[in-house]
Amino acid sequence: MSQFSLMVRESPPTQVIDLNGYLDAHTAPQLESAFQDLVNEQRYNIIVNFRDLVYISSAGLGVFMAFIEDVRNNNGDIKLAGMSPKVYNVFDLLGFPMLYEIYEDEQQARQKFIDSHSIG
């Protein structure tokens, strides 16, 4: 049974990671590896699209913590989009909205990247 899958695609000026299924200690290494590849390629404008994600545990949250500093130090960001109420509740439970920008959908997150680039 495939519990989790992800896909990375380009949506200039951003890279979008689409998540699908269950993100836990078993599947988080896949996301970690996707982030590592993007950072290695110096792609720092990252949107994570949660639209098809049904579950996240702290192992998944830990991946965002692992890369946020590096990405922001390179003038990028990790913006999160399209969470179901269930998944949002896990982020909210731990106060993650303090550290991460969370948007209704991918387009809003992308627009935010475009706006910040045109200003800065």
Binding site: M1, Q3, Y22, D24, A25, H26, Y55, S57, S58, A59, L61, G62, M65, A66, I68, E69, K86, N89, V90, L93, L94, G95, M98, L99
Partner: protein, 145 residues
Amino acid sequence: MQSHTHYIIRFKADIQTRTEELHRIREVVESEAIRFGFDRETAFRMALAVDEACTNIIKHSYAGNPGNMFDIEIATLDDRFIVVLTDRGKSFDPNSLPKLDMKRYFEQCARGGLGVHIIRLVMDDVAYNVTTNHANQLRMVKHLG
């Protein structure tokens, strides 16, 4: 309080120390919690808390070594939903960790410790002890209502 005055074991299983097992454990906890009367949102969080506790056993007590087993028991007593995890790996008392200050956690871009924080936020009582035959036992309780 007439219906649940006995300690009733709802589920009991030996679980392999593999992260593949987490999915099945969550499903059992969530469905048993709903059956006991918790709303879906609370049941979802309880499954998350138990996932975190099992992940810690698999990753830390057994250092990710998949060849071991631990035990899960789900029981109810009065208004209490009780999950007991028993392992024979490295002892770790989650109550020994200080309470997380998330603002500071984010400022330092820290890692780790989130699982225990979730368990404490979701469950009402978290007790840890080492039994007389050297097993580690984590008992998590959530009250209905």
